[in-house]
Subunit: 205 residues, 3 copies
């Protein structure tokens, strides 16, 4: 019996959807939205990056073509609700920061995979990894009227960008999609967690 | 002489454009924008849902291919200006709530029609109905820096979603587009008005 | 030896990217963002209009297909940083207003060129010129949570719209793309600067 290797895109997509649904729903709870508001923001945060990614490469978004994305996002909202009940005040709670870092990493990998698959240049791979990674969080910031993290956190978009560069470099020396996506996501996640842990920042102008 | 039945999409689209142009222009008046700001916000509110709808199914937006959409939106702005002059303070005025409910209903129907026409699954029909219905109002909330209604009103996106489900169910038993769009829009409108009238809400978390 | 005439689209695109990158980075400095925030907002302001333009005509955005757009945007951010260091407080500084007017004019011309090239109607040309012109500034206003200029400045979107009308009129009498783009951009820029200089405005409702 042969067990098929899991599709790297599908794995990263599910991880990212779950993580960002948790982030979005916890942020919504923090903003005192009610149950439906929590669900809507959780789903929008989960889907935002991927829908942007698919529109940019000119295809009908995955989230619209199958039920998987929204179902996974709803499951993530369920997790977020449970977590919110357990931890109480979630503002800047480490679980939000961790889930956000995981979502950033996983979606950056999906962006790089889609860009490579669409035959974009090295450059297109890096841009799409970055945009896909930061898209969901940016949307939730705009909807909740927060200052977008992407503008005030130095090592947020930067982490996704570095992951995109790594993906392209590895792909150009023939590393396969599965390994490559894992390395890209791991690198983004590691960088982001280090940046949070050690308060990395750049000087203001 | 044969009188052609009106195209369900065209009818719903015009109704939605008019309604949301009225909503957008009244909200803009309420925010003390001047004449041009009122026009710009009215047009953007009217076009927002439909442009999003068309981008998601990967086609050049209707609003860009013909003059109808913008012309109708401008007419709606004219109506909004006249209404604003008559009723004075329009904050949460019932005319705004009514027009918004009509726009939500009509655009949800256009979203369902376009999704069905594009061959999307049951699920895609529901998602596109919801996104198209709430798109214009969400855009106007973001531009006016209000808390998006879609996040704080429990029976707003929900109404469009139910309409999308009904459209798909009826389509799957062979009900024609015209009847179906009318039922979908009527259901969304009825639910939304009932929700406003009886203050339906879900518990906060 | 033959010197090829420069491609009107490429010229206008580079001018617009540079100008809006300067605007975005100066606005970011003004909002006390740090170095990376300045870079991110500068790049997003520069790319916003063009990406919207390309999505609307249903193509993969130029900014994703080649490195030119992002490189030019980054160069513009460099200029913005240098200008910011020289002039100090940049709030409503004339250099921001001028760069913004130049970006509006140049991007309106690219929108008209792309629309004409995509075979859109007169109407599509005007809409795409307007949307492309105002897109970047609107995005930066939303991200920095300012009231969008497009809603409160009477002669902002209007200038781009007039430029689009002029482009279409000239194209319809056979004027070539190069001359036409230059006239369109010059007209938008002139109108916008006159509007700023003489405080043109429309009555409030």
């Amino acid at each position: 019996m042969v067990i098929a290797a899991p599709d790297p895109f599908a794995v990263m997509n599910v991880v990212g959807l779950l993580a960002f649904a948790v982030v979005g729903s916890l942020r919504a709870i923090d903003a005192d939205l009610d149950l439906l508001g929590v669900g809507v923001l959780g789903v929008m945060t989960a889907l935002g990056g991927g829908v942007t990614r698919d529109l940019l490469v000119d295809s009908v978004p995955v989230a619209l073509r199958s039920t998987t994305d929204v179902s996974v996002a709803l499951a993530g909202v369920g997790v977020g609700l449970a977590v919110g009940r357990v931890v109480g005040d979630v503002t800047d709670h480490s679980v939000v920061l961790l889930a956000d870092a995981v979502g950033l990493a996983a979606f950056a990998a999906t962006g790089a995979l889609v860009a490579a698959d669409a035959g974009l240049s090295a450059f297109g791979v890096v841009v799409l990894a970055t945009v896909t990674g930061v898209g969901g969080g940016l949307l939730s910031d705009v909807l909740l009227r927060n200052v977008p993290a992407v503008l005030v956190e130095d090592f947020y978009a930067t982490c996704a960008l570095v992951g995109g560069v790594a993906f392209w470099a590895l792909a150009s020396v023939g590393v396969g999609d599965g390994t490559n996506a894992a390395v890209c996501a791991g690198l983004v996640l590691g960088l982001r967690l280090l940046a949070i842990r050690y308060d990395w920042e750049l000087p203001t102008v």
